[in-house]
């Protein structure tokens, strides 16, 4: 259920127009013209001048055809948390099994059958059909991978088939889809390495582009990620920090060399992820023709259009019946009709274009809600207490040297647990905007805290033993 909570289902359909205007007015010095203007041409007479002009034109044309044009960069997030069960207070100290096995299995089966398997098959088919000219990237959390291994190895195999196509990139993230960077840099690094190892083991690739949980980002995080050997990072294109600029270029983070940022074009991304089947959206229905035209309209001023979304968009958030798979089926063909358009993975995009501008983000941003900040996980007293407590155990857990405890501690850091405690959409009793396996944020807190109380006892016990 995790990903069906529509947390980012903002209704800002007008953002589309804002985005178009913004991008339309962006200054786009053409690379090809620049190349043509500096190309050396000999000759002095009028005739030769005419020939020269012709050559210049041809060269410009040739240059232009070599120009990288505009990239469409798809990245899909795949994540499933280990949801907790209704762990009662009298179990504290005696029962160390915390997970809602049935629910996790049920949701995984549902999403595997409705989304992961059919969409993977479709993507692979598109890669084959377009002879390698269709490319996408995935970031798959360690929690999701573990659950696939446990319950649905067929999903792992289908991702492996995609990996073998050579047209799919896997991104790096924190293994437990955690908020660790905010609370413990050491833990952040540990989880990033764990995840990198896991990806290497399963898909035999080494990720070079990083994305943090829910696209949480700021300058410090960029520094941290760059220091870990990544060449780029993915983040939200937040209006507040773009300040009127288009997100459709490669950016750099202040003071960091050889490190690029890819910004989500939230307007076009959300057209697919959230508005695709919204009947009250004035642009509904979203046809491939319509969407492709919006993309092609950026031909002269965009280097990369980053379409980042939850993978569950396909078949789960947007049901099969909405036509989302047909949309996906036709999209590459339509996009590639334009000679200047190509699909590229994040690492290809950063290898293709130099960073054009600086994206200076001193405060944390994310892709959640309209606020695009951390408030969905860290706003209320319940969340603060829970986060404080789980991270306060770090030293004891690590010193215990107990691998099982370390694993459980990691799972309990998954951001979803704190998201379920959010009262942002609950306080006024509007149940419809609250999506979670729990009936209320208070229930989410009660059971999490009970679990944490038991876990704390186990950790203390282990610490005494060691």
């Amino acid at each position: 259920m995790k990903r069906d909570h529509g947390k980012k289902k903002n209704t800002a359909s007008l953002q589309k127009h804002a985005s178009l205007t913004r991008n339309g007015s962006g200054q786009e010095p053409s690379r090809s013209n620049k190349a043509a203007a500096t190309s050396p041409v000999a000759g002095t007479t009028g005739e030769r001048a005419a020939v020269k002009a012709k050559v210049r034109q041809q060269k410009a044309k040739a240059q232009k055809s070599k120009s990288p044009g505009t990239s469409i960069c798809f990245y899909f997030q795949v994540h499933q948390p280990f949801r907790l069960r209704n762990y009662l207070f009298h179990e504290i100290g005696s029962n160390h099994f915390y997970e809602n096995y049935n629910m996790n299995l049920e949701i995984l089966n549902k999403v595997a059958d409705k989304c992961y398997l059919p969409t993977n098959a479709k993507i692979l088919e598109l890669i084959t059909r377009h002879k390698g000219n269709f490319k996408v990237a995935y970031s798959i959390s360690g929690c999701a991978l573990e659950q696939f291994e446990l319950y649905r190895p067929d999903v792992i195999r289908s991702f492996q088939a995609l990996a073998a196509s050579g047209c799919v990139e896997f991104l790096s993230e924190t293994y437990y889809h955690s908020l660790s960077f905010i609370y413990s840099k050491d833990e952040f690094v540990r989880q990033a390495e764990m995840h990198r190892d896991k990806i290497k083991t399963l898909f035999d690739v080494e990720p070079t582009v990083f994305r943090f949980t829910e696209l949480i980002f700021n300058n410090d995080l960029a520094k941290q990620v760059a220091s870990m050997g990544c060449r780029a990072m993915i983040c939200e294109g937040a209006d507040k920090w773009l300040d009127g600029r288009s997100p459709n270029h490669v950016f750099r983070s202040p003071g960091i060399e050889n490190f690029s940022l890819l910004l989500k074009n939230y307007s076009l991304s959300d057209d697919i992820a959230f508005r695709f089947s919204k009947h009250d959206w004035e642009m509904w229905p979203l046809t491939v023709e319509k969407f492709t035209k919006w993309l092609h309209d950026h031909a002269d001023n965009a280097e990369t259009i980053n379409l980042f979304m939850d993978y569950e968009t396909f078949g789960e958030h947007q049901w099969k019946e909405t036509g989302i798979f047909d949309f996906l089926d036709y999209l590459p063909e339509y996009v590639l009709e334009h000679p200047d358009f190509a699909f590229r993975t994040p690492s290809e995009v950063v290898a293709t274009y130099a960073a054009r501008d600086e994206y200076d983000v001193p405060e944390f941003t994310s892709w959640a809600d309209e606020d695009r900040d951390l408030s969905a996980w860290t706003e209320n007293e319940m969340q603060k207490e829970a986060l404080q407590l789980i991270y306060s155990m770090e030293q004891t857990v690590k010193e215990s040297g107990n691998a099982d405890l370390l694993k459980v501690w990691g799972k309990l850091q998954t951001s979803d647990h704190f998201y379920y405690m959010s009262t942002k959409f609950w306080a006024d009793g509007d149940v419809h905007r609250y999506f979670s396996p729990f009936p209320s944020p208070y229930d989410a807190c009660v059971y999490y805290m009970n679990v944490l109380a038991d876990f704390n006892l186990s950790v203390k016990e282990a610490s005494v033993k060691s």
Partner: protein, 423 residues
């Protein structure tokens, strides 16, 4: 009398300064909020001439005198309610001292309750003889025979306000004289005003009243000077506040207590109230070996209630069937985290509380454990409950009631909003 206001004859059983449960405060709060927009006469069995309300005429039947010679009831002008002496022929069963005693009894219920109800009806049915009535607004079954009699006599619109039903008090299967009284009044009424959607559903389900004429009016609460009594002990106090009757779930209270006390040595239950199951509960608590974990306060005056609210750590209401549950609002106002039964009306207006089915005592105990143990949970609940409470006013209730008056009348009702602006 300015004729743009509706003449409301409001029939109440409990009213300040004498209160035993939630009925009195609810009638008072509503009367106060309605007063500026109506010509309001409140009729109660027993009034205290020293207790006065602005723009409200309060008539206590205990103020009447029985003239043995003429067999008339007399309200002397010395009572200051009317400019002239009120006098009318009376043929009720109870007369003389007996009549006076029925209305003056310190216990407004007691064993003679049926007699009291009948006497109230016998007197009140003459009220149209000296008061202009546009609508009759009756609260709970105790006043329904009076209301039905007046309705039959005058054909004035009748609104019956439901604070509690026999099916709440005695169980859904109850089919007795009280049930019949309720059924007859609700059937005859032009509008039925239950205190929650929960009760609206009960009325539809157990009384078969047509849904269209049932309009819930949520209770509210008078704003109270909130204070907190800091304690230095390690004790965790859970407050149960209400009559100790089947309806309030003493069985589930005990079960929850037993489960919670087994795990939390520092927890203590403060059980405030009396009722027919009090002795049973005390015995059961003893039997469970929990006598040092429970404090039975007996009946508590409002002042004591506030002190309890100020010194406890959590509020617990395991009611089996609670039409509203005003004391939960009081607890919320006093910044107590609330664990409430889902079978309650108040849980429809308090969104930031923990709710479970009354019989799910594992869950109830778990919730109490959590609110007593986890600071973050408690703080968030309290902060957001304060917002809920801010939005719960008697003015809102009055607005809903005025809408219903308007509906049953052709008379013009001054809009509350406009009036509020003027004030």
């Amino acid at each position: 009398m300015p004729n743009n206001k509706i003449n409301v004859l409001m029939l109440c059983w409990e009213f300040p300064p004498w209160l035993t449960g939630g009925l009195g405060p609810a009638c008072y709060g509503l009367a106060k909020a309605l007063a500026p927009f109506t010509e309001l006469t409140v009729v109660v069995p027993k009034s205290d001439p020293h207790f006065k309300m602005k723009d409200v005429t309060i008539i206590g039947l205990n103020q009447f005198e029985f003239d043995e010679e003429t067999e008339e009831l007399v309200l002397p002008d010395s009572k200051g309610l009317f400019d002239t002496e009120i006098r009318f022929g009376y043929n009720g069963e109870a007369v003389g001292q007996e009549l006076h005693d029925l209305f003056s009894d310190p216990d407004s219920y007691g064993t003679e309750i049926m007699k009291k109800v009948q006497a109230y009806a016998d007197v009140v049915k003459h009220f149209d003889e000296f008061i202009d009535i546009s609508v009759i607004h009756a609260h709970d079954w105790l006043t329904f025979p009076a209301a039905s009699a007046l309705k039959e006599k005058t054909d004035k619109p009748l609104l019956v306000h439901i604070h509690s039903l026999e099916t709440d008090r005695s169980g859904p299967e109850a089919r007795n004289a009280i049930y019949d009284t309720e059924l007859a009044a609700m059937t005859a009424a032009d509008r039925v005003l239950p205190v929650s959607s929960f009760t609206r559903n009960t009325i539809i389900q157990y009384y078969g009243i047509e849904a269209e004429k049932i309009c819930p009016v949520y209770n509210a609460i008078e704003s109270e000077e909130v204070f907190k009594t800091e304690r230095n002990d390690q004790e965790k106090r859970v407050l149960f506040l209400g009559r100790i009757t089947r309806q309030k779930g003493p069985k589930f209270l005990l079960e929850t207590m037993t489960k919670l006390c087994a795990v939390m040595p520092e927890v203590k239950f403060y059980i405030a109230g009396t009722g027919d199951q009090e002795e049973l509960l005390i015995e059961a608590v003893k039997k469970a070996g929990l006598e040092d974990r429970a404090v039975f306060t007996g009946y508590v005056q409002q002042e004591e209630v506030l002190k309890l609210l100020a010194s406890c750590d959590a509020y617990f209401m395991p009611s089996v069937s609670e039409p509203f549950g005003l004391s939960a609002l009081e607890a919320a106002q006093f910044h107590l985290p609330c664990v409430l039964s889902k079978q309650s009306g108040v849980s429809e207006v308090l969104h930031n509380v923990l709710k479970a089915d009354c019989w799910d005592t594992d869950k109830m105990a778990n919730y109490l454990y959590a609110v007593l143990k986890y600071d973050g949970l408690r703080k968030t609940m309290i902060r957001l409950t304060a917002n809920d409470v801010k939005n719960i006013h008697w003015d809102n209730a009055a607005r809903e009631v005025l809408k219903s008056y308007k509906h049953v009348l052709t008379a013009e009702v001054p809009e509350l909003e406009e009036k509020s602006k003027e004030l």
